[in-house]
Symmetry: C2
Subunit: 177 residues, 2 copies
């Protein structure tokens, strides 16, 4: 009874070339989203008017935006590393045969942790922007906070790509048994 | 050559009784954290003094806290469902034999999605609380926002439990092949 299932069970759990290219595409997309999000956030400046005083505000003035920037930086570093590893595998043309269990486990935990970091970065930025915009309504900071929303939205898209990659890397995980 | 490996390969991928009890323990822990977080957040009220005016504030006055409450409600519903399913399996004393691939896939996506929702709920609450506390400093709302931190911290602990469960359910996932 077990004989017919043996060949399929013996197939290596390593991802195929097609799924490797899909993963690479998603990683490049993540990189693009995070990069644009980072540029918008770091170049974002605004002016808050309180009475006759004007205060110049920058992203790094807000704790939540600083956390968001740290999350983007972490995500970018990880994504660049993964793109480099994938290109290295593809260029060697033996990726499917040589990628060991260690790599698959690294991918699994890496994608998982980074996707949580990106999700929390985006959520913190959305939460902070919403409350700041409400509290400082009518003080001239709307454009600044709208750019905050734009940056957080791009980070959210980067998170979605990484979450999909995390599903892939979970399925590729070798069994603990 | 395939004969010696056949018995281990034929073993069901369903989790053992021990891992089922560990998962149940983590789910009960998640339930407790979320429940206390929910109670703190819903009963939290404070007073903001602006000049001679006093404004009563409640959690539902802030958009981020409303999102957080929705995340907790969603997490609680899912956790209670999972506890009920696990108890049902254990009471039947045949959990390991009957849990099909469908259940494992449900656990995998359920844990993954719920852990992301809990993480973003906690992050949004932390980000909003930090910025609100800074903006409204000296207006008497510190106690209100400290309770916001406490509630967000408990939600974060609930997220950590669910993230660990998500690792378990990823390892238990049947192979796509």
């Amino acid at each position: 009874m077990t004989a017919p299932t043996a060949p399929s069970m013996a197939a290596p759990p390593a991802p195929s070339m097609v799924s490797r290219m899909t993963a690479l595409f998603l990683r490049v997309l993540t990189f693009a989203f995070l990069m644009v999000s980072l540029v918008i956030m770091t170049t974002n400046t605004g002016t808050i008017e309180i009475g006759i005083d004007e205060f110049k505000v920058r992203s790094k003035d807000f704790y939540s935006y600083r956390y968001m920037l740290a999350a983007i930086a972490f995500g970018l570093t990880y994504t660049i590393l993964q793109i480099a590893l994938t290109l290295n595998h593809i260029s060697k043309r033996n990726g499917a045969q040589t990628s060991g269990d260690g790599n698959l486990v690294f991918d699994f935990y890496g994608d998982k942790v980074v996707s949580y970091i990106l999700a929390t970065g985006a959520a913190a930025a959305f939460g902070a922007t919403k409350e700041l915009k409400t509290q400082l309504a009518g003080l001239g900071g709307d454009k600044f906070f709208n750019k905050g929303y734009a940056s957080a939205s791009l980070l959210l898209l980067g998170f979605v790509c990484t979450a999909i990659l995390s599903v892939f890397s979970s399925y590729a995980l070798p069994k603990k048994v």
